[in-house]
């Protein structure tokens, strides 16, 4: 099969750290970012736990050097911070030196401002600058501007909780087909009353720390985050003698075609997406050294995903864990957050613990890793599954 696409930079901001180094330290120390919500005044504040980023909007604006009358949603602020770290990490000094694109993803977009000023817009002109910032593409446009990407291919994907994985997949294919030399890929989502209440009505929010793959799991914790990768072509990597952090070796996307919000009991979609990704990477299931599972800790996801893993890997399921108990489920950003974690795994030969796990599920004999484990890792598989039956799998590798 064709070679993987080189990853030369990454950036992240999440509930467990404001950059890659802080995130990695929290992962090693088993430190969760889940807490009671402090930045949104919601009725549900005592009945849910979330993964919140420590900075408030003012601090993020200051970090980015924005004027007070900017119209950045929190999604755009988080996205810009993470994308800038990725660019710096890839040691890019002239973004225009090569054909550079941006593929971002989000599910809430500028909903945080819309819900805040929804009626206020009608009464006063003070905050109307945010009206333009509502649509999902706005945060991407702002990130492009922050990075200096202009006159280029810049677009946004929104496929619910698989969004960022799909952005990485699309970016990798744009590099492979030679349409771009370099592409920044990832996603951002902030917390909002909209998503908190949406998931609340679906009755899949846990009132305590989430417990992925546990028999007694009570649902998910929502989180906010942003993460981006820099993907570069083989030509560029050679010419600039770039340091490569890892490779996007395989990708697969499939639809469960079962239910708008629930996954099929046998995980048809997830099975297909894992099989496709393995085929693109030219790998066999036994070549996968670690699975970073979607593992949201909802009753439905973990059962469906677990069954799909068994269907693909049979008796020899490699070590797996979900990192959602650290960060919360960061929706559209999740695929990029976990891509960064997968690359850190490969670089350091480390498997992260699946926090809060106690009791194996009765439906199958799958037990996630519960302690930090050292293992030589060459290949990490990462799943992202979402509403609308969207199933995506990415495979990251140490070598091309």
């Amino acid at each position: 099969m064709s070679k993987g696409v080189a990853i030369t930079g990454m950036g992240i901001i999440s509930a467990i750290g404001n950059n890659v180094a802080e995130n990695y330290r929290s992962l090693l120390e088993g430190r969760t970012g889940i807490s009671q919500i402090s930045k949104i005044d919601t009725l549900h504040k005592d009945s849910i736990m979330v993964g919140e980023i420590e900075f408030n909007n003012g601090q993020l604006e200051e970090k980015l050097g924005l004027s007070p009358n900017n119209n950045y949603s929190r999604t755009a602020l988080l996205g810009a911070v993470a994308a800038k770290e990725a660019i710096a990490n890839a040691k890019i000094t002239d973004i225009k030196a090569y054909r550079t694109g941006l593929i971002s993803s989000t599910s809430v977009g500028g909903m945080d401002m819309t819900e805040k000023y929804y009626y206020d817009y009608l009464e006063s002109g003070d905050n109307r600058r945010y009206i333009e910032g509502h649509h999902a593409g706005d945060s991407t446009e702002k990130i492009a501007e922050q990075l200096g990407i202009d006159q280029s291919l810049v677009t946004t994907i929104s496929t619910a909780c698989s969004s960022a994985a799909n952005a990485i997949m699309f970016g990798a294919r744009l590099i492979k087909t030679g349409q771009l030399d370099r592409v920044i890929v990832g996603g951002a989502d902030c917390l909002s009353k909209f998503t908190i209440n949406g998931f609340k009505t679906l009755m899949i929010l846990s009132d305590t720390y989430s417990t992925p793959f546990d028999e007694n799991r009570k649902g998910l914790n929502l989180g906010e985050a942003a993460a981006y990768l820099v993907l570069e072509s083989e030509m560029l990597v050679k010419k600039e003698n770039k340091k490569v952090l890892g490779y996007v070796a395989g990708y697969g996307n499939a639809n469960d075609a079962f239910h708008q919000t629930a996954s099929s009991e046998n995980g048809d979609g997830a099975t297909l997406s894992m099989e496709k990704a393995l085929a693109v990477a030219g790998l066999k299931p036994k070549d996968v050294d670690y699975i970073n599972a979607h593992g949201t800790a909802t009753g439905n996801n973990d059962l469906s995903e677990g069954r799909a893993i068994i269907r693909v890997f049979g008796e020899e399921v490699p070590e797996f864990s979900s990192t959602k108990a650290y960060t919360g489920h960061t929706l559209a950003a999740a695929g990029a957050i976990e891509a960064v974690y997968a690359i850190l795994s490969l670089q350091n030969n480390i498997i992260y613990p699946n926090l809060n796990f106690k009791t194996p599920m009765k439906e199958f004999a799958l037990t996630p890793e519960t302690t930090l484990k050292e293992k030589v890792l060459n290949t990490v598989l990462s799943n992202s599954l979402g509403f609308g039956g969207n199933c995506s799998t990415l495979i990251f590798s140490k070598n091309p």
């Binding site: 919601t42 009725l43 941006l102 599910s107 909903m111 819309t114 819900e115 929804y118 817009y121 009608l122 002109g125 109307r128 009206i131 333009e132 509502h134 649509h135 999902a136 593409g137 706005d138 991407t140 446009e141 492009a144 990407i149 202009d150 006159q151 291919l153 810049v154 677009t155 946004t156 994907i157 929104s158 496929t159 619910a160 799909n166 699309f170 294919r173 087909t177 349409q179 009353k193 909209f194 209440n197 949406g198 609340k200 009505t201 679906l202 996307n253 499939a254 639809n255 469960d256 075609a257 079962f258 708008q260 919000t261 048809d268 979609g269 979402g386 509403f387 609308g388 039956g389 969207n390």
Partner: protein
């Protein structure tokens, strides 16, 4: 690289376009600043019980997709790729309103579920049982073109054979109200035939769904071949002509090869100068048409322009109501589409007779 064809179409718009047998024979004129889609009798396409539960955007998308699938004589496809600027925005509005008015109590999940941008693509997949690739692009006025770029890549490399691609947006009351406040929607009501003479800020908003089966396997139903699509997040007006010439050159074409320019003018005093740059410049001697007076402006309005291009190439006919100048080409072999919204998110699309 495989050639890519538009094998079938399905359109629901502010004009009566859901019947593929006709081509704008009867034009509906409006005197307004927001215009609605003319909907087919949904019962002819989907069970009434299912239709009742669906948001308007879902119904428009599912039915336009169904019309396209039927014309291509397919029961399934390898991939479904949609573009939508706002998703099912009415459900977003409904859910926000419910949160605010009831202080986060007594909420039901339906509108939250439908508000997710990928709902239409997910519902189509559910309806036909398509377990293939399923993507949704949500980037303002290039949402549909992003879907096209993705589909082209898969069809040119033979990763897929048939892909259902579509653009869909519904219009929402609150969204329209606030866009009037910032004059993205014209303050005055305007007649369909006077849109480009309005000389005022803002556009007339619309809604609709345009779906297509794209394939590297040309069928008898074929409308056109897609030669290329290119998007730009920003483009200063001074660079427009040069970039367009570069795009044509990449496709081994020059200005003289273009028989028709389909221009995305929406009558906004502040931004139509981009279109004028081409219509009065490079394409001054080319036959020109426009369409947003018929479809209204929305994030995926360019998918209506794409539908128009496909129709023109297949029927070799241009209805007089869409003429932007008086030049007449001898035949219609190659069509170029140009679109942008508020000076951002530009797209060039090239179609050829098949």
């Amino acid at each position: 690289m495989e050639k890519v064809f538009i094998n079938s179409i399905g359109s629901i718009s502010a004009q009566k376009t859901f019947d593929n047998k006709v081509f704008l024979e009867e034009i509906t004129t409006y005197e307004d600043n927001v215009i609605p889609a003319i909907e087919p009798n949904y019962k002819d396409f989907i069970p009434p019980a299912a239709a009742r539960r669906m948001a308007k955007g879902i119904k428009m998308g599912v039915v336009a997709a169904k019309i396209a699938m039927e014309e291509a004589n397919l029961s399934n496809v390898d991939a479904i790729i949609t573009g939508t600027g706002m998703g099912c925005v009415r459900d977003s509005e409904k859910f926000v309103t419910a949160i605010l008015d009831n202080q986060e109590q007594f909420l039901t999940p339906t509108s939250f579920i439908q508000s997710t941008h990928n709902t239409v693509a997910g519902q189509i997949a559910l309806g036909i049982g398509c377990k293939g690739y399923n993507f949704t692009y949500v980037h303002s006025s290039i949402s549909f073109e992003s879907a096209l770029i993705d589909a082209l890549m898969q069809l040119q490399t033979k990763e897929a054979e048939n892909i259902l691609v579509g653009g869909v947006d519904e219009s929402g009351e609150h969204t329209n109200t606030i866009h009037k406040l910032i004059q993205h929607i014209k303050l005055e009501k305007i007649n369909t035939n006077k849109l480009l003479q309005s000389n005022t800020e803002g556009a007339v908003f619309g809604e609709g769904a345009n779906f297509f089966v794209l394939s590297n396997n040309k069928q008898n139903s074929c409308y056109a071949q897609i030669l290329g699509v290119k998007t730009f997040n920003t483009l200063p007006i001074s660079k427009l002509t040069a970039n367009l010439e570069g795009f044509l050159k990449d496709n081994n074409l020059s200005v003289d090869d273009i028989d028709v320019l389909i221009s995305g003018n929406n009558g906004d005093l502040n931004f139509d100068n981009y279109y004028l740059e081409l219509t009065q410049g490079l394409f001054n001697n080319t036959q020109q048409v426009y369409y947003k007076h018929l479809s209204g402006e929305f994030n995926t309005a360019s998918s209506f322009g794409f539908w128009l291009g496909a129709k023109i190439l297949k029927t070799q006919h241009i209805p007089s109501e869409i003429a932007l100048n008086s030049i007449k080409s001898k035949g219609f072999g190659t069509v170029l589409l140009y679109n942008q919204y508020r000076g951002k998110n530009h797209s060039f699309t090239l179609l050829r007779q098949c």
